[in-house]
């Protein structure tokens, strides 16, 4: 009797400790204690260290005078501007280089990816070589290669390469004619917007009519006419307000025109080349992921090869392509922080300078992290919308 009592007591006790709920509670409490303990310890240390270094915490420093110059300023900025404005300039530069890189990388990536699936042996091999080279070297090295290996050894301004359309290439960058908008040029932009809106409307109506009656409408040519024709008409009507400021060669430098600095150029080219190799692989996987039966079925329905691609293969391939493509866009945006290595003033570079000048390490790193997180979230959100439109509509 007594032994049974002991036995029951033991089983009940061991079952108490083996109860998943109790265990989970115990471990989570442990985690919370350890976490709060270490956070408290870190905060104490940070406060001590900051007091010792005489650094006031808080974001008040953002209103201080920056006192350093930035080479590429898309918005007005001088060394008398505030630290906050310097960081905003950096953020805008990051967005510019990331957006340009994303567009170019997508174009190169799609061309190379389709090339890798080509029936043509030579094209296929060239594309494979491209992918295998760029996938297996660090992006930073590609940036340095463009910067010190290619652009830095271009001729001096005096012996610049003359390129078509009045543009020049030399070791100070790429110069091309800058558009000068005269009086009344706002009409052109208005016409462009109206043209795009009308084209969208026509496309919608045409689609509705095709769904209802089966009659087709030449949407493409109408859109081209609207989007190109309307601004052109406005251009003529407003009295040709557009002129070009051509870069001119003088003894030591080029004057006029629009200058793209080698820092931007090498970062942009390197990010595009590097990410394109990954996009190419994604595109290839996407197209190969559409089963052959789909193509054959479409051919059996009597579609032409162009229509098969446009209506059957590409929509299904995009479904596979878009999620990994999104993460490549995010990677490109994050890799744009490598700009700091060649002195292009992106977010990391300007925030890093601010951080060094003010000693506000905690706030500086926090700003950087939050800015990149927001950029990532916005990109993902946009791509999620695209993805939702492409996704399989299931019953």
């Amino acid at each position: 009797m007594a032994s049974q009592e002991v036995l029951r007591e033991e089983t009940s006790r061991s079952s108490f400790f083996n109860d998943p709920k109790v265990r989970s509670l115990f471990f989570q409490t442990l985690v919370v204690i350890v976490l709060f303990g270490s956070v408290w310890w870190i905060v104490q240390n940070v406060i001590d260290n900051l007091q010792r270094l005489h650094i006031a915490s808080g974001f008040g420093f953002l209103n201080g005078r920056a006192g350093f110059d930035i080479s590429d300023t898309p918005i007005a900025y001088t060394s008398d501007s505030t630290y906050g404005r310097a960081i905003v300039v950096g953020l805008i530069n990051t967005i510019i280089v990331a957006a340009a890189g994303v567009i170019t990388a997508t174009i190169i990536g799609f061309v190379i990816g389709i090339g890798r699936l080509s029936q043509n042996w030579l094209i296929q091999k060239i594309c494979t070589v491209y992918v295998e080279i760029f996938r297996n070297i660090p992006p930073l090295l590609v940036i340095f290669f463009w910067y010190s290996g290619v652009l830095a050894v271009l001729p001096a301004p005096r012996d610049s390469y003359h390129l078509p359309l009045g543009s020049f290439l030399n070791q100070r960058g790429f110069y091309f004619p800058r558009a000068v908008w005269g009086e009344g040029s706002w009409l052109i932009f208005v016409a462009l917007i109206v043209g795009i809106a009308m084209a969208w409307f026509v496309a919608r109506k045409a689609r509705q009519r095709q769904m209802a009656t089966g009659q087709q409408f030449p949407v493409l040519w109408t859109s081209v006419a609207l989007i190109v024709g309307l601004p052109l008409l406005a251009y003529v009507l407003s009295g040709f307000p557009l002129s070009f400021d051509l870069p001119k060669q003088s003894t030591f430098n080029l004057t006029g025109g629009f200058q793209v600095k080698p820092e931007f150029l090498s970062l942009y080219l390197a990010l595009s080349c590097y990410t394109a190799a990954f996009i190419a692989e994604i595109v290839r996987a996407g197209i190969r992921g559409v089963s052959k039966g789909q193509t054959e079925a479409a051919a059996a329905l009597g579609l032409r090869s162009g229509s098969i691609l446009r209506l059957v293969v590409v929509p299904q391939a995009m479904r596979i392509v878009i999620p990994p493509l999104t993460s490549q866009y995010l990677n490109l945006t994050k890799n744009s922080s490598l700009a700091i290595a060649i002195g292009y003033p992106d977010l990391t570079a300007t925030a890093g300078t601010v951080l060094n000048q003010t000693g506000q390490a905690v706030e500086g790193v926090l700003i950087m992290m939050i800015a990149y997180l927001i950029l990532s979230l916005v990109t993902s959100a946009v791509m999620n919308v695209v993805n939702a439109r492409m996704a399989l509509v299931e019953r």
Partner: protein, 380 residues
């Protein structure tokens, strides 16, 4: 009446229109008009690029020489005719020791070389599936070798002179950073992935926040974080070695990516496996270690290797917190007045690119081989 053939007719060779080099060319290069145009375009690209590359890298290249004069044209103060372009391998040749070891003392360089030999001697049998005693091999590679290497490389014990990590450089830094990063990030990433799929809300939230934050920011920011903030986090007077800080940054960064890869594998394992393990009475760690993870990790080998490759390439970023890995040392040497020519930067970078490429390409090929070997019909 009827005639039945008693022996089989011998197979005839295929008609010449579908075999042989001419048919191959017709099929693969000039199949249609568009194909022909593409081929001409391709030949034009190859004919434009290849001779230039070969000329630059081999024919015009300077392999040996004492200083910059061999790689500079006469106007630049050298011995080459004007208009000459070619690789300056003499630069790479002269700096090879630095590219490999940084400023590691020359009389002590046998130590990293010994570590490299030990590493290769342990790694090669690990990679060849037929060699037995994988368990012992893994223990030697991942537990014994790091300890031995630590004492060999840093010294300060067993009569070896101390070498500060600030004198390490070149491929030595690249390889040691990535080896430790790989050895730390896989287990840490697995734990994070398990945490993310855990049923305990607090543990799960912590893991999600960590993984998503680290994945959302660039490695440079993480490196900034560890190099600027870590000293603030510690009590006054406690300092971390810069090399160690970079190690922490790279490992944490890679662990977050690894966690997502491993999570993919965990999700691919059918629920029946988990339930089966539960019904056998296995505990959580037994269930994961014996049933789930072996299957899950096997499924995601390509992803794991891709993360390794990414991390190997990412180690080059430590030059931004002024540490000198292979790329950093190469870049540092551009400013050597003794070798400064227009060709120097290009040659050094191509050399570094080739080294990085060899390692990454090797890893990716090995992963493809493993994938094929382990593909035992599990994929659905």
């Amino acid at each position: 009446m009827s005639w039945v053939r008693t022996e089989m007719a011998l197979a005839q060779p295929a008609p010449t229109s579908v075999r042989g080099p001419i048919a191959w060319v017709r099929r693969n290069l000039i199949g249609s008009l568009g194909d022909t145009i593409l081929t001409i375009l391709g030949i034009a690209i190859v004919a434009w690029v290849l001779p230039q590359v070969i000329n630059w890298a081999f024919i015009n290249a300077q392999w040996t020489g004492p200083d910059r004069t061999v790689c500079a044209t006469i106007t630049q103060g050298g011995i080459q005719p004007d208009g000459w372009t070619g690789a300056c391998w003499a630069f790479v040749n002269a700096k090879f020791g630095q590219f490999m070891f940084g400023t590691y003392p020359i009389e002590e360089r046998w130590r990293p070389i010994l570590v490299a030999i030990l590493f290769v001697a342990l790694l090669v049998p690990m990679l060849i599936p037929r060699v037995p005693r994988k368990g012992l091999n893994a223990i030697l590679l991942f537990l014994v070798l790091p300890i031995v290497s630590f004492f060999l490389l840093i010294g300060g014990a067993f009569g070896l002179p101390h070498v500060e990590t600030s004198r390490w450089g070149g491929l030595l830094v690249t390889l040691s950073l990535s080896f430790v990063g790989i050895a730390v990030s896989l287990p840490l990433g697995t734990v994070l992935a398990l945490g993310r799929r855990s049923k305990m809300p607090i543990v799960k939230t912590l893991c999600v926040v960590f993984i998503e934050t680290v994945r959302g920011i660039p490695l440079i920011t993480v490196l900034f974080f560890v190099s600027v903030m870590l000293p603030l986090f510690l009590p006054a007077g406690v300092t971390f070695d810069k090399f160690l800080r970079a190690l922490i940054g790279v490992s944490l960064f890679a662990a977050a990516y690894m966690a997502e890869v491993v999570r993919g594998g965990l999700q691919a394992i059918p629920k029946g496996q988990y339930e089966g393990a539960d019904s056998l009475g296995l505990g959580y760690w037994q269930k994961m270690g014996l049933i789930v993870l072996p299957q899950a990790l096997k499924l995601v080998i390509p992803g794991i290797v891709n993360t390794f490759i990414g991390m190997f390439k990412d180690t080059s970023l430590v030059l931004i917190i002024s540490m000198f890995d292979l790329l950093g040392v190469v870049k540092q040497n551009f400013s050597d007045a003794n070798w400064a020519t227009p060709q120097t930067a290009r040659s050094g970078l191509v050399f570094a690119a080739f080294v990085f490429w060899l390692f990454c390409f090797g890893m990716s090929r090995y992963s493809m081989y493993t994938e094929r070997r382990l593909d035992t019909g599990h994929k659905r």
